[in-house]
């Protein structure tokens, strides 16, 4: 037996007992199930949508950013979080500018006196120009901040979860959509190559036409190229068994379709009810849950006709549960505060006062930050050595080990 490479290897080989699940899942770097990250992010996003309290929103932004920084991998999509933050800042600025130019102004503390354009009666709620008050400006800023926090949550999910692995985790009934998406992702760079090649080739013929006329001359060979390639790809997929496991009976297809459609409609209504604090309680969580159950049942029925397996499916273990729960804790805290002490979720503007910091809400948001601890460390893709020890979970034959 050759010497071991990492401490993991030696420990596991040394003890004959199987390591506990806790040890396995906590110690080894691995990618968390993308669905867990999305649930976590949605949990925080829903929490953000319920409040305009700047303290709570700032806390959420901080918590989300910390989790992203601690748990993102070195993959290209992981660097996108910064872009979402920039987008959020742009949204805040835009919201404030809109308030100053066309927003309805209110409050007591005058900041700025702008000339006002008189508008007819039916345009109430829009005010072009006019005096800007501190209260109205702050209100607009807080609303912008809420939207920016939502965007940051989506960005966090994108940065933390490999978008393609999320597609692989789709239920069997949606497999075709996932394949189409992955194929189109690979086609885009090929198309760019093709355009580049044909443009170069045009110049070889001394053709220096630019503008609209060039489009036709380049588009034709590029389209032919794309068509050829898609035919080759379709032939290759057919030869490799794509579509072989599908035994579609019309009855199952109809049942599945009806279930999914009804379920999605109910989910939409439920989501609306949950986000809109004014709507009746029955339109919130109950409708959402019913919709999700119906849609899941539809996908399950649809998946019955598909016989296919997934290579290295992402496991759903304790860290996944914990991560998802920590995000949902933020939502739960907001819902509780919303029932017991709704005023703690809004910033008091009239009269202007310092926003309150509810203990329950703060605890809920901080709980979402636990995701940075309960989730496993991401694995790096650039250094291959630790990857095969940690990811395979099985030991390789000694002679294959690098010395």
């Amino acid at each position: 037996m050759t010497s071991t490479v990492t401490s993991w290897g030696s420990r596991r080989r040394g003890s004959s007992a199987r390591p506990s699940v806790r040890e396995r899942t906590r110690r080894l770097p691995r990618g968390l199930h993308p669905g867990a990250w999305w649930l976590w992010a949605i949990g925080v996003a829903v929490a953000a949508s319920r409040t305009t309290n700047p303290l709570l929103l700032a806390l959420m932004l901080a918590v989300v950013s910390v989790v992203v920084v601690v748990r993102r991998s070195d993959a290209p999509w992981a660097r996108a979080y910064r872009l979402y933050l920039v987008l959020g800042a742009v949204i805040i600025v835009l919201r404030v500018v809109l308030h100053i130019t066309v927003g309805f102004k209110y409050g007591d503390h005058v900041l700025l006196r702008l000339p006002e354009v008189p508008l007819p009666e039916w345009a109430a709620g829009i005010q072009v120009g006019g005096t800007v008050y501190l209260e109205g400006l702050l209100g607009a800023f807080f609303q912008g901040l809420r939207l920016a926090t939502l965007i940051a949550c989506i960005g966090a999910a994108n940065a933390l979860a490999n978008p393609k692995r999320l597609l692989r985790a789709l239920p069997g009934a949606l497999h075709e959509i996932g394949v189409a998406f992955v194929v189109s992702l690979t086609v885009a760079p090929q198309l760019a190559d093709s355009v580049h090649r044909v443009r170069r080739a045009r110049r070889l013929r001394g053709d220096n036409v630019r503008g609209v006329r060039a489009v036709g001359r380049i588009a034709l060979p590029v389209l032919q190229d794309a068509l050829d390639r898609s035919i080759l790809l379709a032939a290759a997929m057919d030869s490799r068994g794509y579509g072989r496991g599908v035994q579609a009976s019309p009855r199952i297809r109809r049942t599945s379709g009806a279930l999914v459609l009804t379920g999605l409609t109910a989910t939409c209504i439920g989501t609306f009810g949950l986000l809109d604090a004014q709507s009746p309680t029955v339109l919130g969580v109950p409708a959402l849950l019913t919709g999700l159950v119906l849609a899941a049942a539809g996908l399950w029925v649809g998946g019955l006709r598909v016989r296919r397996s997934t290579y290295r499916p992402d496991p759903w273990r304790a860290p996944e549960w914990a991560t998802a729960a920590s995000g949902l804790a933020a939502t739960a805290a907001m819902l509780i505060v919303g029932y017991t002490d709704p005023s703690a979720l809004t910033a008091p503007l009239q009269p202007l006062a310092a926003p309150a910091l509810s203990l329950v809400a703060t605890a809920g948001i901080l709980a979402a930050g636990l995701a940075a601890i309960v989730s496993p460390a991401p694995q790096t893709t650039t250094s291959p050595a630790p990857v095969w020890v940690s990811r395979s979970g099985t030991e390789r034959t000694p002679e294959r080990r690098p010395q």
């Binding site: 070889l204 013929r205 001394g206 001359r217 030869s239 068994g241 794509y242 893709t381």
Partner: protein
């Protein structure tokens, strides 16, 4: 042993085709055989291969008469996807057939479709990574791999489903000699160790012939002969140099490998000892010959990657230069940089012949990249790797007229050139319906209509059969005889031996060898042509040279032992 593949009276006719692509084919390939399919371009090789897993006619359309059975399954009742567990198909262009984008996922794709259990998939992916030497590449994006690596991934991706029949359509056509050896070694290992039945089509027969157990020869008229390689090669319409040399020397049975031929060649070497190889019928170009293109310090870089590293290259009028080197060594980048439409980060190119005016020559020549494309192509013409990119009109005539207009020639110049290069092309045809060789000829005619002083050809022999390569050689020689400089980049050592006066070898963006063809390629294990290997240490390169020497003044009788 029962046959793995059985064709019974198979005729395949595509819609709107004047005649069947295959006529009454009877064929049986036994299990564990490596069966090589050869024939001229357009003789139906791809059709035959496609029929094995039912892509023809299920996918391509057309009518199939007779029956094709693979391990007892009739393609009439089984669609390609239903045969995916027994037949693996690898196409010419591996990148076009990839469904996912990393090595590991691509290897698993076929198994996912067959609904294999996750632990089985896991094990087979690891086994396949090791079998094909891909373990270090497992997480790499497929697009970043070299051609040879991509081809190995493509083979691996069908091997994971453990097919018992493997169908490969020109698996080495885009590869340099070393990468091709690598892929072929993998294939023979599968045949010998795992008992996989392999059906393989190839234009460069010299690479594969020695490994074949069974040969299928498709005649241009749609007939099919099958049998032991040595017997069929005696009369085959396409033959590698080793076979041609064997035919010339009258060896029976014909040797198929360099080793076999070398053991028979001692008497021939004795006969040839007294004569020296001629220059292949072409007078040597003296070193002092007029330089047509001078380049100094060419650098091409893409981000951090330096594709061409400080290359000096001079092309002389009347000389044919071959540019060789492994995939990704910077050959294409250099050609594009010399032509002027490609990227060039540093260095000078000066064309001192042809369209350059006398005062431009005094100043050291014209740089084609500083001219507008229409004038640049009169100095340096380039036929790119995908000649079809240059064509966009819907008929051959249209392309020719357009070329005359672009070059400012009198009408009909391009059509006349095309008639000389490749006689008998129907002018009304759509350029896409032409064969590889015909399309190359059309693009060559289009580029030659500008009468450039320097012609650059990027991988011109891809997909050409031996006849088409001979015609290309004659065209290139004629150009050189008219005082043009020709630079062609290629992996085809036999074509280089037959065509080039001088060989430049690139590695890692640098020129590592530059000299007369015989000096550079005879001693190289990878680049030496078959004839050179057989007749070493005598420096013969081609069967043509040997034939000329045998028929020459020494008048050796035709009856060699």
């Amino acid at each position: 042993m029962s046959p793995a593949i059985v064709f019974q009276q198979v005729s395949i006719t595509y819609p709107d085709a004047p005649r069947p692509a295959l006529t009454a084919v009877d064929l049986a390939v036994d299990e564990g055989e490596l069966c090589l399919v050869v024939g001229r371009t357009g003789s139906g090789k791809s059709t035959l291969l496609g029929a094995v897993n039912g892509l023809v006619p299920h996918f391509t359309g057309g009518t199939l008469a007779g029956s094709v059975r693979v391990l007892g399954r009739d393609t009439r009742e089984h669609r390609p996807r239903d045969l995916a567990d027994v037949v693996g198909v690898v196409g010419q262009n591996p990148l076009a057939g990839f469904v996912t984008d990393t090595v590991e996922e691509e290897l698993a794709y076929g198994m996912e479709q067959l609904a294999l259990a996750p632990d089985v998939m896991r094990k087979r992916v690891e086994e396949t990574l090791d079998l094909l030497g891909l373990a270090d590449l497992r997480h790499r994006p497929l697009r970043d791999l070299s051609g040879g690596q991509q081809q190995r991934v493509a083979i691996g991706s069908v091997l994971t489903t453990h097919p018992r029949v493997l169908v490969l359509d020109e698996p080495t056509s885009a590869l340099d000699p070393t990468a091709a050896e690598e892929v072929l070694a993998t294939i023979t290992r599968l045949v010998h160790d795992l008992g996989v039945t392999v059906l393989l089509a190839e234009h460069r027969i010299e690479r594969v012939l020695q490994y074949a157990d069974h040969l299928v020869h498709l005649s241009p008229d749609g007939r099919v002969e099958a049998g032991p390689p040595a017997e069929l090669m005696a009369t085959s319409s396409v033959a590698p140099p080793v076979v041609e040399l064997g035919r010339l020397a009258g060896w029976t049975p014909l040797p198929l490998s360099v080793r076999d031929a070398r053991r028979r060649a001692a008497p021939l070497r004795d006969r040839l000892r007294s004569s020296t190889p001629g220059p292949g019928g072409r007078p040597p170009v003296s070193d002092a010959g007029a330089a047509a293109l001078r380049s100094r310090g060419i650098v091409v870089r893409y981000g951090d990657v330096v594709a061409v590293r400080d290359v000096d290259l001079t092309l002389r009028a009347g000389e044919v230069t071959a540019l060789m080197g492994r995939n990704g060594s910077g050959k294409s980048s250099l050609l594009w940089a010399l032509q002027g439409s490609g990227r060039r980060d540093r260095g000078h190119v000066a064309v001192v012949a042809g369209g350059a005016t006398p005062d431009a020559v005094d100043k050291g020549g014209l740089d084609p990249s500083t001219l507008d494309p229409a004038r640049g192509r009169r100095l340096v013409g380039l036929v790119p790797q995908e000649p079809g990119d240059l064509l966009y009109l819907d008929s051959v005539t249209g392309e020719c007229e357009r070329a005359d207009h672009e070059s400012g020639d009198i009408a009909g110049t391009c059509a006349r050139l095309l008639e000389r290069i490749a006689p008998g092309i129907d002018p009304g045809q759509h350029p896409r319906d032409l064969s590889e060789g015909q399309r190359l000829s059309l693009v060559l005619a289009v580029q030659l209509s500008a009468d450039p002083a320097v012609l650059l050809l990027d991988e011109p022999t891809r997909g050409l059969d031996y006849g088409a390569k001979r015609r290309l050689r004659d065209v290139v020689h004629e150009l050189a005889d008219r005082g043009r400089a020709v630079l062609l980049s290629t992996h085809d050592v036999e074509f280089v031996a037959d065509t080039a006066d001088r060989v430049v070898v690139m590695a890692d963006g640098e020129v590592v060898a530059d000299g007369p063809t015989a000096d550079v390629i005879v001693s190289s294990p990878a680049f030496a042509p078959q004839v050179a290997k057989i007749l070493a240490p005598q420096p013969w390169l081609t069967v043509r040279d040997v034939r000329a020497a045998l028929a020459g003044p020494t008048a050796i009788s035709e009856t060699l032992p």
